[in-house]
């Protein structure tokens, strides 16, 4: 047996697994999407059908809002945690990154305990204002849940990036007269740009596709994963749910690629 064919033989298990669990189901999904009553135009339904379109917009807005708020919160926290040493710092970091270990269902449960009908917030507002504030079963509750599990991932990335920042750059900017805000704006944030894109992309993709939390909170939240679920299990609408699945994948991939190309030019400009 030649060396080359030996290498190919070693790759065989990978080829089989990839084919069986990735390529074949993907191909089947794409074919199923085109097998509905509208045929191939079923793929356009995600854009043309008002209900699907609204859900798509809802999902993108939710994911974008999650990403932006996560980045703001995590950047401030990450920078502080990386730059300061204080008693209890290690415990605090461990606590902040703890949600990494939770599945989406547990996060959803936590949100219900916090903002559900028997939740803490409702209890508190009932005593103070005489009215229960309940938002766990809506898109706001979902937003809170996504925030909860996006922040740890982003904080860790930002902390690593802050650690690599050259303190000399900040000192140089200060020596040239830049105050604290100008230093952040002109030196620190541009240097963290690649970390923002990398960690933001993960937060965005997670918020686009996560299902467990949404499912725990309510079945009527208007986000794409829930829509796919209801079309598939309740309406048994195989072709539409396949088309929506492919659409969700393509749109998420497209937005991530956009962010990456944008960061590519930003990285180039940042040297």
């Amino acid at each position: 047996m030649s060396h080359k064919s030996f290498v190919w033989l070693c790759l065989l298990p990978l080829v089989v697994v990839t084919a069986a669990f990735f390529l074949v189901p993907m191909a089947r999904l794409v074919v199923t999407g085109a097998e509905g009553p509208q045929g191939i135009t079923g793929y356009l339904a995600i854009l043309t059908e008002p209900r699907y379109r609204a859900t798509l917009i809802n999902t993108v807005v939710l994911a974008a809002a999650t990403t932006i708020v996560t980045l703001i919160v995590a950047t401030i926290a990450g920078m502080f945690l990386q730059r300061h040493r204080f008693p209890g710092r290690a415990v605090l970091i461990a606590m902040l990154t703890f949600p990494l270990a939770f599945p989406g269902v547990v996060i959803g449960f936590l949100i219900i305990l916090l903002a559900g009908r028997q939740g803490l917030i409702g209890d508190l507002t009932n005593r103070v204002f005489g009215e229960k504030l309940v938002f766990a079963y809506s898109i706001y509750g979902l937003f809170l849940g996504y925030l909860y599990f996006s922040i740890p991932r982003v904080i860790l990335t930002i902390m690593a990036a802050v650690q690599k920042l050259d303190v000399g750059l900040e000192e140089a900017a200060r020596s040239l007269g830049a105050g604290p805000w100008a230093v952040q704006r002109d030196v620190v944030l541009p240097a963290l740009g690649p970390a923002f894109v990398a960690s933001g992309a993960i937060a965005f993709a997670t918020a686009m596709g996560a299902f467990g939390t949404a499912f725990t909170l309510a079945t009527n939240i208007d986000v794409l994963p829930m829509l796919i679920y209801t079309e598939f299990t309740l309406a048994a609408n195989f072709s539409i749910s396949a088309a929506l699945s492919v659409g969700l994948g393509v749109i998420t991939w497209f937005i991530l690629a956009l962010a990456r190309s944008f960061s590519g030019s930003a990285v180039a400009a940042a040297g």
Binding site: L169, E171, A172, R174, S175, L176, D186
Partner: protein, 351 residues
């Protein structure tokens, strides 16, 4: 920018010491005056406190309680660096990677709200002064080390600082480039005539650039003086050995002569002490016939360097003596030679 001398502010640091949080004493309380327009070099091995002193003057470190930093007589101790109007060049250059060369140079002016047109003119002036024409729109990662050094200097000078602070600006460059840029930097600093404080561990840089040199050792000032003073009249063994090459000879003294194994060597001035530590620079020793000098020894080795040759002579003193002889002198290992040293060239060091 004209070549007139005496720009910028005068600096005085008063009893400035620095103890870091974990308890290390980086700098013993030191007092130092720097005249307007002077170039002062802080010279010493790593860990001697020179960078700490520079950072205290810059405002990047606070001195220990009781220490004071004054610019033109005004107390600046609690003024942060961004309001001290100092130009600083860092060892790593710390150029902003997200800005072009001209944006880097103009950054300080932009922060100060200088109008675009005026800023562009000033940037062009500095680009010409530092010889980096054609690089204005480059990114920082497209520059060579020498070009980065020039941009860092241009950026620091653009804001017309009262004081220019340079922290080992040539250390990151290779030897040949360092030598060339040292001359260029000297010309520039003279042309600017601005008060400059320059930190280095390289004595050749200190000699060429400094109006005065502050030699530092273990957080203390060992000696302050002009390059010539530091070189010819070191006040301690540390300074003598750190600056240039030096023969350090410990010997008893009789009737104004050092008594050595290879003969007697006259010393200049009064010396009513029984013994001394003397310093003799290698280039002040002349190699002659054995009969024509009171001191003699045997040549151990000859290293021909080109413009001169370095002889190591044994037997003249209790330790080997290094001699820098002109390249025309004929000497071979194993030969006995006389060593002629002018009494003025023998410097007695305080013990």
């Amino acid at each position: 920018m004209s070549a007139s001398a005496g720009h910028g502010a005068s600096v005085r640091i008063e009893a400035c010491g620095k103890t870091f949080a974990e308890g290390t004493r980086a700098l013993e309380p030191a007092t130092l005056d720097i005249a307007r327009g002077e170039t002062l070099v802080l010279l010493g091995p790593s860990g001697c406190g020179k960078t700490t002193m520079l950072r205290i003057i810059a405002g990047l470190e606070l001195p220990d309680a009781g220490g004071k930093v004054l610019f033109d007589g005004k107390d600046m101790t609690s003024v942060p660096i961004e309001r001290r109007n100092v130009g600083m060049v860092f060892q790593s250059y710390a150029l902003f990677p997200n800005m072009s060369v001209s944006a880097n140079i103009g950054y300080g002016l932009k922060i100060r709200g200088v109008p675009d047109k005026e800023r562009a003119a000033r940037v062009a002036e500095l680009v010409a002064l530092t010889n980096i024409s054609g690089l204005e729109n480059r990114r920082i990662d497209q520059l060579s080390g020498g070009q980065r050094q020039r941009v860092a200097l241009a950026r620091a000078v653009a804001i017309r600082p009262g004081i220019l602070l340079l922290d080992e600006p040539l250390t990151a460059l290779d030897a040949a480039l360092r030598d060339r840029l040292r001359g260029e930097l000297n010309r520039l600093l003279r042309a600017l005539g601005i008060t400059t404080i320059y930190v280095t561990h390289d004595q050749a840089e200190a000699m060429e650039l400094g109006d005065r040199v502050v030699v530092m050792e273990k957080g203390k000032i060992a000696q302050i003086g002009s390059p010539r003073e530091i070189y010819f009249t070191p006040q301690s063994r540390f300074v003598a050995e750190f600056i240039g090459a030096a023969n350090i000879i410990e010997a008893p003294i009789e009737n104004g002569h050092l008594v050595l194994p290879g003969g007697r060597q006259a010393i200049g001035g009064e010396a009513n002490i029984p013994a001394a530590v003397a310093m003799i620079r290698p280039e002040t020793i002349r190699v002659v016939e054995t009969g024509s000098a009171p001191l003699s020894g045997m040549v151990d080795s000859v290293s021909f360097i080109g413009d001169r040759q370095r002889l190591v002579v044994s037997g003249a003193s209790s330790k080997l003596i290094t001699v820098d002889a002109p390249n025309t002198v004929q000497a071979r290992a194993g030969e006995r030679v006389g060593l002629l040293i002018s009494p003025d060239a023998v410097r007695l060091l305080p013990q």
